[in-house]
Amino acid sequence: MSTLLRASELAKLPVVTFAGEAVGQIKDIVYAADGGQVNAFTLAGRGLFAGPLNTAVPWKDVVGLGPDAMVIESEKVVVPTGDVLAPATTSSGGGGNVLRSRVLTDQGTALGVVNDVIIGIAGQGAQADVIGYEIEPAETLGRGRQRLLIPLPDTLAASGENLVVPAAASQYLTDDLARFGSVVDSFRSQLSAPTGAASNNPAQRSAAPTSAAGQ
């Protein structure tokens, strides 16, 4: 993971063409239906009183996404929002809302509520992958109220109400975004080779929650 971005930091970024014109700003992020990737960005007009433009930019047409701007080749890649919205969820409104969704393990333990989405971009032309969530931890976790980062598998079930993650994810909770990329990598490599390394007993975890790779 070369670049990790918080979804909340992308909102309001200007969308600029090669010609140096700003066609709008990012309003919202449209995720694939399985929640695993960024499909598109919806746009809003720039400025204090500008509203939504009902247009969007598919991820494949994004040339660059940095801290100061999202860059596209020209305004020709901007499409009506309906074209990208149909099979997807957004982070606020329409389809299903990821933010404020409850994170549930496949063992039925509630881990918390989604507060932000962590997006990883491996490099030029790569997929924008949803690699984790920032959650407000559930009280039953016994981790206090500090927000935690939870790694995600490549794909997961999302309904707009619940997001179901493998129980093993709760062992990788961390509060350190700088090291979150390597946490996600070790979590995913453990998922692809499940040789009994992870405990599958949810009671044991909630009694003594650990953060295997995060500390």
Binding site: T3, V16, T17, G20, E21, P67, D68, A69, V71
Partner: protein, 160 residues
């Protein structure tokens, strides 16, 4: 030749020895990374654009042209002369979405008009990487940055 050194220089007709105008703006066509014309002030008529091809010599003290009927009026050149296409002072964004500074000067080849480099606050950007000049920003392709000592290279992803 630097943009800021060019402004105010006289344009002289070699056939009549008359000053036909004073350089007010250097018009860069970003797609070609080239100076395409000079916008003049204090001209006798209503035409004020001097196309690059009409320049006889870009001398140290004056620009010379063959006659005094070389000025034109052209829609594209007038657009390039507008505020939206001005380069100096505008912020510079790379195609990777990083702001790398704002333009303090433009260095161009006095012989053929090619943009050699953009001088930013802290960096010098290769002119061949220029992509576009719009109302929001000057767009450039990324380049390997030689950061001045003590400054972090701007092309590296910032820690989030």
């Amino acid at each position: 030749m630097r943009y800021t050194e060019t402004i105010g220089r006289h344009v002289v007709s070699t056939s009549t020895a008359v000053t036909i105008g004073v350089i007010e703006n250097v018009l860069v066509e970003p797609v070609e990374q080239r100076v395409v014309a000079l916008a003049l002030g204090k001209t006798a008529g209503s035409h004020r654009m001097l196309p690059w091809g009409q320049i006889a010599a870009f001398g140290a003290d004056a620009v010379t042209v063959a006659g005094d009927d070389v000025l034109v009026t052209d829609g594209r050149l007038t657009a390039l002369d507008g505020k939206d296409h001005a380069i100096l002072g505008k912020q510079v964004l790379t195609t990777e979405g990083y702001r790398v500074g704002s333009v303090s000067d433009v260095e161009f080849d006095a012989a053929d008009g090619h943009v050699l480099s953009l001088l930013l606050d802290t960096y010098q950007w290769d002119g061949r990487l220029l992509l576009g000049v719009g109302s929001y920003a000057v767009m450039v392709r990324p380049q390997q940055i030689q950061a001045p000592e003590g400054l972090a290279p701007a092309s590296q992803p910032r820690p989030y």
